[in-house]
Each structure stands twice: as structure tokens, then as C-alpha cells.
Symmetry: C2
């Protein structure tokens, strides 16, 4: 069980991170996500980190990297469910999650993705 499952909900792929991310798991997740975005034509990726009590620079980089990969594949990424203590720690550590969109919970995250997609369509 070293792969994080990716659930498809319409045009959004949902990932719930529950286990400590090791190098292998993080790389596998990036690969799997890239493949699923390409295969499904998903326009949004939602990553739930509500189970994480610690987000260190490794996880921060992984989130930024996933976000970058998804962007190249024409999908937006939003990170949801961050615990308040995690946000405090991130700021204290000077990790700003550049380029990573966040939202309080899944429903607000869905709204963020919908708006981002509408903005894309408008810009075309």
C-alpha cells in the first residue's frame, strides 16, 4: 500500500494524503497524477492534507511540484484542509507554498477550481 489513491470526480481528481510522504511515495504520486490528468483530461486537482499534522519543506516542495506539473497539463491544483497549526508552522519556517492555491475545505476548493477554469475559458 505505498500508492496514494487518486479519485476522479467529474473533471476533478481528488487525492487525500494520509500517510507520511517518503521520497518513493511522493514520486509515485506525481507520476500517477500526471498520467491520470493526461488520460482523463481533468482540469482540476484537489489535494486534501487535513490528516497531516506536519508539513515540512519536503512536502511543501512536493505540493509545489505537483501544482507545476498539473499546470503544464492544463489543470489547476488546490490544496485543502490545512490545519491551522500547519499554516503557522509553514510561515514560521519561511515556507510560503509559492504557486500553490489553498482553500479551507473541499467545497471551497471546488469553487476555487471552478473559478480558475472559468477564467481560463474566458481568456481563450
Amino acid at each position: 500500500m505505498d500508492r496514494v489513491p487518486i479519485l476522479r470526480m467529474g473533471k476533478t481528481l481528488l487525492v487525500t494524503i494520509q500517510v507520511d510522504m517518503q521520497d518513493q511515495t511522493a514520486l509515485a504520486l506525481q507520476d500517477d497524477l500526471a498520467e491520470r490528468i493526461a488520460k482523463t483530461g481533468a482540469t482540476g486537482v484537489m489535494i486534501d492534507i487535513s490528516a497531516l499534522e506536519i508539513v515540512d519543506s519536503f512536502v511543501g516542495r512536493m505540493l509545489a511540484s505537483i501544482s507545476g506539473i498539473a499546470r503544464i497539463l492544463s489543470a489547476h491544483t488546490v490544496v485543502v484542509g490545512m490545519q491551522p497549526a500547519v499554516a503557522i508552522t509553514l510561515v514560521e519556517l519561511g515556507l510560503s507554498l509559492d504557486g500553490v492555491k489553498t482553500a479551507l475545505n473541499v467545497e471551497r476548493g471546488m469553487a476555487v477550481l471552478r473559478r480558475a477554469e472559468e477564467a481560463d475559458l474566458g481568456a481563450r
Copy 2:
């Protein structure tokens, strides 16, 4: 990280099981789900087990138990993403997941929950 996160999507609560279920984790999940159903008035519970390569009688009982608890709280439960090998093993073991609805993936699971809810409304 011994609690499985529960995500709310509209009137459905979504749980992705990724870790081996121990007694404590399973009990905590049942408690958390019961509380969340009562608090949010959710009408559906979706449990994704696509990451599980083995579903033994303990997990089988947990799924049946969650389904029963949800039912008493007026919510339907659907288990999605079961791997084919898991289905084969379950039948070989004589575990039939009585009273547990299943669906191939999240989208079909959503349809099952929607139909179940409509049937409830029609019956009133």
C-alpha cells in the same frame, strides 16, 4: 496520524481508506463518521477502498458496521473502488458484505447514492 480523514462533498461524506485498519483506527472512524453524519445531515457515505489489496473479515465487518450505523442515521453507504482480486478473495472466503452497497468507482457510487436518496424521498 491514526485518524482517517472524512471529506464533505455536498450531502455526501467521502472516506478514502489507505492504511491497514487496526481496531483503534476502525473504531475511531466509526465514531467520527457517526458524529459527522449527525452534525452535517449528510445523506450519503462513500468509502473508497481502491488502495486496499486485502479485505479480511475484520475490514468486512467494519464496512458492514459503518453501513448499519449510517443507515440508522438516515444515510446510505456505498463502497467504491474494490480491486477485482479483492472481490475474488471475498467470495472465496465466503464474505458477502451483506447490506453493503458497492459501485465500481466514485462516479457510479454517486449515482447509487442519488438513486437511494430519491427512493427514500419517494417512499415518504
